[in-house]
Amino acid sequence: MFAELNSILNTFPDKFSQEEFIIISERRCDASFLIHHFLSFYLRARCKVCFLGLVQSFSHYNAVSQRLGVNLVQAKEKGQLVFLEGLQESLSHLVPQEGQAGSEALNFLGDPTKGLQDLFQFVRSSCSGPSGALGCTDRSGGPEEWGPPVLLVDDLGVLLSLGVSVGTVLDFSHYCRATVCSRLQGNVVMLLHCDEEEDDGDDEGAEQLLKGLTHQCSLTLHVQGLPTGYCRDIHGQMEVCWRRQQADEQHTLNKLFQYKVHDKGASFFARGTSSAFL
């Protein structure tokens, strides 16, 4: 959890806005540090977290989260975290073995045109399921109650590269928003990797998906590397775009920051005010 990012977004573990749909887009850089931030943030805020980790293994996320002060293994045991390890589960689909049926959530691997309905059903049952694990109790002896559900996806671009069409992914994100944000008053955070060199034509691709998602979301974080190239002290820039949904505040607000990722966190600063130069 990055304290500076919390103050930029005006969210804190004990006071954060609900029904938010946050999109993180990364271009020419690695914005997974933001996913780690949101994961540790919502676990600290005692929310029920459903994490679709399609890019890295569980142990990777656990190792990074431990540096941020959160134990994913413990959270999983207590029932606070539901983790879908895409890499491991996909093996069961791609190399089927007897007695080892893969998770139904990844049924689209066998037929990408089938749609992401099974994945959505997995998300729905994880987010609206019983709040505590069996045998896990809080101090008063009852099952532990968690806060509003949160869905984290890392990352949507993987679905595109697995053959799922842009429209199908947009349907999936719409259903996640309708269920998790509107019905369960939770939050959704999705990461999308956009490649500038991609030239698939005007109809498909991450760019079109990003455009569609931008219309659905309430907050966008556009992260990209510096246009001038690599810099040791500044790892990239992040543009924060709010799209306020309240009827009385219809406006978008854009802010631009540069950031540097450290061992146990990240610092954010206005352009040109990096500590290396001041």
Partner: protein
């Protein structure tokens, strides 16, 4: 056209609003305006939840507004009984809109057409809209522009806090750029830079030594004297150019 819609003077038609997503307050406004036209309004919601719409419309004459919720389950994944994208067909819509005994006084608002176009073929959508256009007046909201409009009109309008709409002039407020008076550089000098008419004449008549005039041209070009055009070339020692030894430093 917007003025006619608000005043209720039109005879029906199809209005397409293109806009970016967060300006869906227009959806509220248009719905309000249409309610003031004393018509039945049917709203099909794909991109906005029913609660958000109701929060925006504070006073709804509920008997005139019919909301069809397609936000929660637009594709039938959760088997709820709401409106789905597949319901967008001529038969179903005609039946749905027959709730009003006077079918001509009905308006249909769709947010948004992009959703339908992703799941129903474009030709079906166009033919359905065309068939129903004859009987209804439509408003569709399409946040992502993927089609070009055949006929466009630009309107500027202002929405007040009590949700009344005022249509401003078509052209935006462009201030005419005032003509800048050219500064006269010869205005405040201690010496005179101006020419009198006689001086100007003399200046224009002046023949510069190297300018071609008729006399000069004839002298040089037409009277080429005998032998004066021939070129006599006598190479000297430094003009002896050997291709194989241009610097003349080889001991050949």
């Amino acid at each position: 056209m917007l003025l006619e819609i608000l005043q209720g003077n039109d005879s029906g038609g199809f209005l397409l609003i293109k806009g970016i997503r967060h300006v869906w307050v227009h959806l509220f406004i248009i719905t309000c305006a249409l309610l003031f036209r004393d018509e039945d309004v049917h709203v099909i919601l794909f991109e906005v939840s029913e609660q958000e719409l109701k929060d925006g419309l504070k006073e709804i004459p509920s008997q005139k507004l019919h909301i069809h919720n397609a936000y929660e389950d637009p594709l039938g994944w959760t088997n709820s009984t709401s409106f789905t994208a597949q319901h967008f067909s001529l038969n179903y819509l005609t039946q749905m809109l027959k709730l009003n005994p006077q079918p001509k006084a009905t308006t249909l608002v769709i947010d948004s057409l992009s959703w339908i176009l992703r799941h129903v073929s474009t030709t079906n959508v166009c033919s359905t809209l065309h068939q129903l256009k004859k009987e209804l007046f439509w408003v569709c909201f399409m946040p992502i522009c993927i089609r070009e409009c055949i006929f466009q009109q630009e309107h500027s309008f202002r929405i007040d806090e009590d949700l009344t709409i005022t249509v401003l002039n078509k052209t935006p407020n462009i201030e005419s750029v005032p003509e800048e008076h050219q500064m006269d550089p010869t205005a405040n000098l201690t010496f005179n830079l101006r020419l009198s008419d006689k001086e100007r004449e003399a200046k224009e008549k002046l023949l510069l030594p190297f300018m071609f005039s008729k006399d000069n041209t004839e002298k040089l070009l037409l009277h080429s004297g005998s032998g004066s055009g021939r070129i006599l070339y006598e190479p000297d020692a430094s003009d002896d150019y050997d291709q194989e030894d241009p610097d003349d430093d080889l001991d050949v």
